[in-house]
Amino acid sequence: MAYKIKASDCTACGACEAECPNNAISFKKGAYAINADLCTECKGQFSSPQCASVCPADCCVPA
């Protein structure tokens, strides 16, 4: 149960990183990636996955 970033569509804007309540997103080796161990899909925290809601490229999707 985690989200992932479709790297091909990502603009590397970092908006998702700032919104993730679990610090699951980081910039590594030139790309943003979600650490599946930390991602909770925002369940119990917000009504929708924060990264997917803010992403301008709609590239944060269920893994």
Binding site: A12, C13, A15, A18, E19, Q50, A57
Partner: protein, 518 residues
Amino acid sequence: MANVISLDSILGVGELKAPAEAPPAAASGCASSSCGSSDGPADMAPEVWEKVKNHPCYSEEAHHYFARMHVAVAPACNIQCNYCNRKYDCSNESRPGVVSEKLTPDQALRKILAVAQEIPQLSVIGIAGPGDSLAAGGRNTFKTFEMLQKKAPDLKLCLSTNGLALPDHVDTIANYNIDHVTITINMVDPEIGQHIYPWIFHDHRRWTGLDAAKILHERQMLGLEMLTSRGILVKVNSVMIPGINDEHLMDVNKAVKSRGAFLHNIMPLISDPAHGTHFGLTGQRGPTAQELKALQDQCEGGAKLMRHCRQCRADAVGLLGEDRGSEFTIDRIEAMGEVEYDQEAARTYREHVEGERAGRHAAKAAAQAEVVETVGIEVQPILIAVATKGGERINEHFGHAKEFQIYEVGPKGAKFVGHRRVDQYCEGGSGDADALGSVLSAINDCTAVFVAKIGGCPSQNLKDAGIEPVDRFAFEYIEESALTYFKDYAERLSQGAVNAREGQDAVIRTGAFTARRA
């Protein structure tokens, strides 16, 4: 260093004119109308003038003398606009929201210090994106300003935002001494807003449609009021989208004026299918030059309008109308090592400009007084395109001009009303016919074009198109020359030697603007 603009070449130091006598009191009536959109202490509160006088983006006069620099430290955004495609990033593009290199706050600081060393005209540092400067908590934006304030406290700081997150950050903005904020406000009616903004991200969720536009509108108005009540200057930017918000922008003008915005900048929509924006793909057109000017004219008397905006890229560097951003790449800056900020050089330049400007005010007023006396009030104003590289002078070769500044001159005086971007006619030495076409269509509503120099061939083409090429005012001041020309024009008109040029329109150029000063 070969690219440094020498101050002499811009200002014509050494050939400064002695300030003319102050105009007779009777003539001062015209001065206020001609100053309708130009600046000076006459039509601006002194405390506002003090803040903006050296700011190229806010003061029409300052934009001849001072440089601004945007640092692209804020890539994240919190709303989606139909005129923006966040995926798009191309170094051949020049428009807001576009940038080639994203910088960390540390890199931004080094870049600013490096630029300040080479361009003493630098007076303003802005953060305008490429996303929203206050999205993602505004962290990079405020980090950059914090470091900059320690290193170069005399540089002015400003930021642009869509306003959604603004109310949360007003205190921080005040603490960092940021005295100018630009808010992009395209509507004050959510019914209209829903056609401009497909969604926003606010309070941990994505909102769409009318709800999104309503929240955005409320936050924009709240943020604007909070800033102005704290004495922070607010400029409002609006994108003119024909058929969607064009007439509505008059209401926007009133709404922002009543909330204390000191400047309103109406910009044309930049729309092209190749940009991949929603409007680009749906074929939404931008306004023509005359449509834009007509709207700006209608808004005059409301919130003060700004007409010299170049819709700079989020990483623009240099005097308005030029972009030297590509000279200062991350690699080059890293290679420069530690750079110290030289406050002294910047101060010397500012003092020099102060002196120059005092003389200019007097000379303009005198020239205006003379025209009012000799030309009847019934002569229609005309537009003049001017090739200039700064210093308020006609000092650019026709073939080298990347843009023309447009002045409206009439019995009431001369005023700057806009600028038109063109392809350089003469790139690499030889004129090219396509580029000439782009110049002609950009200034088609003008009666004359003032240049420092022009070749015989383009000169003939201009005449054929009904635009008079004028090089007899080479290196003179723009406004005085325009007034002298107008006096002469009015006389020729009365003798039937020329016909008034009416009903023409011009095309707003939206494509690449990457040419650099050679």
